[in-house]
C-alpha cells in the first residue's frame, strides 16, 4: 500500500537533486513505486521528487543494459578522425613502418564504440577510398 506524503519536501527541482542524500526505505513507496498514472501518485505532494529518484533508477538500469549490449544509437563513427588517419598513413609510410589494417581497425573500433567487426570493416573499406587511402597486403597506404 502506498503512503501519501503529507507535506511537500522543500527542495528546488530546477537544480540537480542529490539522490544520495535520501535514505530510502525499500518498504516505502517513495522513490520505489513512482507511477504517475496512479491516483495516489497523482495526489502525492512529493510526486515529482519521487519521479526524480525513480528516474535515476531507470538511468542506472539503462546504463547496465548499455554495459552489456553495445547499441547502434551509442556508436560514435563521427568521432573517427580521417584527417589524422591519413596524416599518419603518410608519415608511417615515410618512416618505412606503414600502418596496418589491424591497427586502423582497432582505432576505429575504440573510437566508434561499435562492437560489430563486419560493420567496422565495411565502414573502413568504404571510407579509405574517399580519403585517398587504400588497403594493400594488410597495410594502409596513401593512393
Amino acid at each position: 500500500m502506498r503512503t501519501k506524503k503529507e507535506e511537500k519536501t522543500k527542495i528546488d527541482l530546477s537544480i540537480p537533486v542529490n539522490i544520495d542524500s535520501y535514505n530510502l526505505s525499500e518498504e516505502d513507496c517513495f522513490g520505489n513505486l513512482w507511477l504517475p498514472s496512479d491516483n495516489d501518485c497523482s495526489l502525492c505532494a512529493d510526486n515529482e521528487l519521487c519521479g526524480v529518484i525513480y528516474s535515476n533508477k531507470i538511468k542506472k538500469k539503462k546504463a547496465e543494459f548499455e554495459f552489456d549490449n553495445k547499441t547502434i544509437d551509442n556508436t560514435r563513427f563521427n568521432e573517427v578522425n580521417w584527417d589524422l588517419i591519413k596524416k599518419q598513413a603518410i608519415n608511417y609510410k615515410k618512416e618505412n613502418n606503414p600502418m596496418t589494417f589491424t591497427e586502423l581497425f582497432m582505432y576505429v573500433k575504440d573510437v566508434s564504440k561499435c562492437d560489430n567487426d563486419v560493420v567496422i570493416e565495411t565502414y573502413i573499406e568504404a571510407n579509405l577510398l574517399n580519403h585517398n587511402l587504400c588497403k594493400k597486403d594488410g597495410l594502409i597506404l596513401p593512393l
Binding site: G51, I72, D73, A126
Partner: protein
C-alpha cells in the same frame, strides 16, 4: 513543477545541469507546422528544456538569441547527453533551422517508443499525457482553443514548459516498459532510435524536381481534364440528366420566388418577383448548374436513378451507411455500354494526378526546387514506414488506362538527378516472398531462392504438373500468360485468401478473369505446391490467439484485434493481419536497418533521399558509383543476429540496382555487380 526562464545569468549553470543529468527533453513551439526547406527562424517562437522531472527551463526567441544557439549547439553536439523529444524529428528540424548542424549521440523519441509499446494506440502527446500523467490532463486544450500566437507570454511559457516536462516523464515511463521486454528495447536502440536521425536527414535533403517540366505538364493535364469533362458532358444520358437537373432547379427557383411573392409587401418587389417568375416559366431566363462529376451525391443520382443511367443496384454496391457507392470498385462492375464509366474513371484519375502529384508537388517545393516528404515510423501497425506531405512512397507509376499512360510516366520523370549525380534505386528483390520461404521453411520455395531461381516460373510449372524444363518449352505467349497468372497466385495467396477473395484479387490487380472453378483449382494447386505455407498461416493465427500479438523477426509486437471475434469478417481480417504482419513488418525492418547501417558506413557525399517499402533511393556523385558494391554488401548481409538476436537462417536477401543520370522515371538496370 518549477518553471524558469533561460537567461544569460543561468545558462552556464543550466548547461552543467544538463551534462550532469545526461538526459534532456526539448520541445519547440512554432507558429504553425514548419515547412522543411522553406520556413526560417521566424516560425520558431520558443523552446523548453527539462533535464530533471519537476522543472522546465523556457526561452522565448526575441532576436538576441546567439548565446542560446551556442548553448543548443553544445547540447546537440554532446554524445553524453541523451536528447529526448516527442516526434523528435520535428524538433531536430527546428534546431536545424536555428543553425544546429551537429546532431550527436542518442535521440530518443517518446512517440516512436510508444508505438513500439502499443502499435494500436494513439501516440499524440495529449492522449499519452491523459493516460500516463493525469495530473497534466487536458493541458493541450489550451492551444486547441486558440492559435499559439494568441497565447499571452505567460501562457505560452507555461504551455511550452509542460511539453518538455511531460515528455521527460513519459520517457522514463516508456523506457521502463520497453526494458521489461529485452527484444523490444534492443529493437528500439538498434533500429527505431538511430533511424530517427536517418529519416531526419532524408527529409532535410529532399528530392530534386524539374519544375519547368512539371509546370508544362500541369498545363497539359488541365487541358486533358477539360477534354474528358467535355466527353462526359457529351454523353446522351448525361445531356438528358443535365436537362432534368436544370428543370428541377427551375422548379425549385420558381417555388422559392412564389413563397417570397406571397410575403412581399412592397409593390415594386412584388412586380419584380412576378416578372422573374414569368421569365423563368417562359424560358426567357434559364438556370443551369453543370453536373459536378467529382460529387459522389450527384454521381449517385446520375448512375442509379431513372433520370440518369438507371444502372441496377446490387446489395454489394451499398456502403455500411446504406448508400450506393460510386467508388471505383463498384463502377468497374457496371455495364458500361456507352463508355461513360471508363471516361469517368479516367477523368477522376486525371484529377487525382493533377491535385496530388502535379500541383501537390509543385506547391510544396522549396526555393531550390526540392520536395521534402515526411517519413513516419508510427504510421503502420507493422512498423513499416509511412510517408506524407507528400507521400513519397506512393508516387504513381501505373494506370489501367492506356489513354493516360504517358502522363503517368511524367510524374516520376519530374524527380530528377542533381547535376553530377546519379539517381540510384536499390531494391530488395521479392522481399516478402523470400521472407515467407524463411518463415514457413517451405522446401519448394526455399529451393527456388537458394538456387537463385524464378519463383513465378516454378509456381506456374508446378501448378500444371510440369517440370521447369517442360514449362520453358511452352510457346512464348503461353509461357508468359501462365507465369503472369502464377505471379498473381504467389502474391495473392501468400497471406491466406479465400477462393472468392483470390478471384477478385486476380481481376483487380492483374486483370485476370478466372471462373470459380479455375480459381479453386489454382488455390488448391498452390497450397499443394507450397504445403508449408498453410502451416505457417495456422501457426501465426494460433500465436495471435494465444498472445494477442505476433512478432516480426526483430521482435516487434504487432497487436491483433478481433482474432477471437465471432464475426467472420472481423476475425478473417484479423487472421490475415496475423499472417501478413510478421512478413511485411520484417521486410520493412530490413530496409530500415539497411538505412541505419548505410548512414554509418557510407561517405557523406552519398545521399539517401527516399525509401519506398523495400527500396532505397540514393543520389550518388558520378565519382562514387563504385560504392554501390558496399551498398549491396550491406543490404544483402545485414548483421541481424548480432543486433537483434535472430537472423535469416535459410535464405539470403538479394538486392537489384537501377540507375539513371536523368530521372526516377528513366531507370535502367545495373547489371554485373
Amino acid at each position: 513543477m518549477k518553471i524558469k526562464i533561460i537567461s544569460r545569468d543561468n545558462i552556464y549553470s543550466l548547461l552543467q545541469y544538463c551534462k550532469e543529468s545526461g538526459y534532456v527533453s526539448i520541445d519547440y513551439e512554432t507558429d504553425d507546422l514548419i515547412k522543411i526547406g522553406i520556413d526560417g527562424k521566424e516560425k520558431i517562437i520558443s523552446f523548453s528544456l527539462s533535464f530533471q522531472i519537476g522543472s522546465s527551463y523556457v526561452y522565448v526567441f526575441n532576436g538576441d538569441d546567439n548565446y542560446i544557439i551556442d548553448f543548443l549547439k553544445e547540447i546537440y553536439g554532446n554524445y553524453n547527453i541523451v536528447k529526448i523529444g516527442h516526434n523528435i524529428k520535428y524538433d531536430n528540424h527546428c534546431a536545424h533551422i536555428l543553425g544546429i548542424r551537429k546532431f550527436r549521440g542518442q535521440f530518443h523519441d517518446t512517440l516512436t517508443m510508444h508505438h513500439l509499446i502499443n502499435c494500436k494506440g494513439n501516440h499524440d502527446l495529449g492522449s499519452l499525457v491523459n493516460i500516463y500523467i493525469p495530473r497534466f490532463k487536458d493541458y493541450k486544450k489550451l492551444v486547441d482553443r486558440t492559435n499559439i500566437l494568441e497565447l499571452d507570454k505567460d501562457e505560452l511559457i507555461a504551455y511550452n514548459a509542460i511539453d518538455s516536462e511531460v515528455t521527460l516523464e513519459l520517457y522514463f515511463i516508456f523506457t521502463e516498459l520497453l526494458m521489461e521486454d529485452k527484444r523490444l528495447y534492443t529493437l528500439f536502440r538498434n533500429l527505431v532510435s538511430p533511424l530517427n536521425i536517418v529519416l531526419f536527414k532524408m527529409e532535410l535533403y529532399g528530392m530534386l524536381i524539374d519544375k519547368e517540366f512539371l509546370d508544362y505538364y500541369i498545363t497539359k493535364t488541365e487541358e486533358l481534364i477539360k477534354s474528358y469533362e467535355n466527353k462526359l458532358r457529351e454523353n446522351k444520358t448525361v445531356k438528358a440528366f443535365q436537362l432534368h437537373v436544370n428543370k428541377a432547379l427551375l422548379q425549385e427557383e420558381i417555388s422559392k420566388l412564389s413563397i417570397k411573392l406571397l410575403s412581399a409587401k412592397n409593390e415594386k418587389t412584388k412586380n419584380e418577383l412576378s416578372q422573374r417568375i414569368t421569365d423563368l416559366k417562359s424560358n426567357k431566363i434559364t438556370i443551369e448548374k453543370p453536373i459536378n462529376f467529382n460529387s459522389p451525391k450527384q454521381m449517385s443520382l446520375l448512375l442509379y436513378t431513372s433520370a440518369g443511367f438507371n444502372f441496377p443496384v446490387e446489395d454489394e454496391y451499398k456502403t455500411d451507411s446504406g448508400e450506393v457507392s460510386t467508388g471505383k470498385q463498384v463502377l468497374e462492375l457496371l455495364p458500361d455500354k456507352s463508355g461513360f464509366i471508363k471516361n469517368l474513371l479516367i477523368y477522376r484519375q486525371l484529377n487525382k494526378i493533377y491535385s496530388t502529384y502535379l500541383i501537390g508537388i509543385r506547391d510544396k517545393l522549396d526555393k531550390r526546387n526540392y520536395i521534402h516528404g515526411k517519413f513516419n515510423q508510427h504510421g503502420t501497425i507493422t512498423g513499416r514506414l509511412s510517408s506524407n506531405d507528400p507521400n513519397m512512397q506512393n508516387i504513381i507509376t501505373r494506370t489501367k488506362y492506356s489513354e493516360i499512360e504517358d502522363l503517368i510516366k511524367i510524374v516520376k520523370r519530374s524527380f530528377i538527378a542533381p547535376e553530377n549525380y546519379f539517381l540510384v534505386q536499390a531494391d530488395y528483390s521479392q522481399a516478402e516472398l523470400r521472407l515467407m520461404a524463411e518463415f514457413s521453411q517451405d522446401k519448394n520455395m526455399l529451393s527456388v531462392f537458394q538456387n537463385d531461381g524464378d519463383l513465378h516460373e516454378m509456381t506456374a510449372a508446378k501448378m500444371r504438373n510440369m517440370t521447369i524444363e517442360e514449362f520453358r518449352k511452352l510457346p512464348e505467349d503461353e509461357y508468359k500468360r501462365y507465369r503472369y497468372e502464377a505471379k498473381s497466385a504467389n502474391f495473392g495467396l501468400l497471406y491466406k485468401m479465400s477462393i472468392n477473395g483470390y478471384k477478385e484479387y486476380a481481376k483487380a490487380n492483374y486483370g485476370i478473369d478466372l471462373t470459380l472453378d479455375q480459381a479453386t483449382k489454382m488455390v488448391t494447386n498452390f497450397f499443394k505446391t507450397y504445403s508449408a505455407i498453410p502451416k505457417y498461416h495456422e501457426l501465426y493465427i494460433a500465436k495471435a490467439r494465444k498472445f494477442g500479438y505476433v512478432r516480426t523477426l526483430s521482435g516487434r509486437k504487432v497487436f491483433i484485434e478481433n482474432i477471437m471475434d465471432n464475426d467472420n469478417i472481423k476475425r478473417g481480417y484479423a487472421e490475415r493481419t496475423a499472417v501478413n504482419a510478421p512478413i511485411q513488418g520484417t521486410a520493412g525492418e530490413l530496409t530500415m536497418f539497411a538505412l541505419v547501417l548505410l548512414n554509418i558506413i557510407l561517405p557523406k557525399e552519398i545521399l539517401m533521399v527516399n525509401t519506398v517499402h523495400d527500396s532505397i533511393i540514393f543520389y550518388i556523385p558520378e565519382d562514387y558509383m563504385d560504392y554501390i558494391k558496399y551498398i549491396k554488401n550491406v543490404m544483402e548481409n545485414l548483421p541481424l543476429e548480432h543486433y537483434f538476436g535472430k537472423g535469416l537462417k535459410y535464405i539470403k536477401m538479394k538486392v537489384d540496382f537501377e540507375f539513371s543520370k536523368k530521372s526516377w522515371g528513366e531507370l535502367e538496370k545495373l547489371e554485373n555487380l
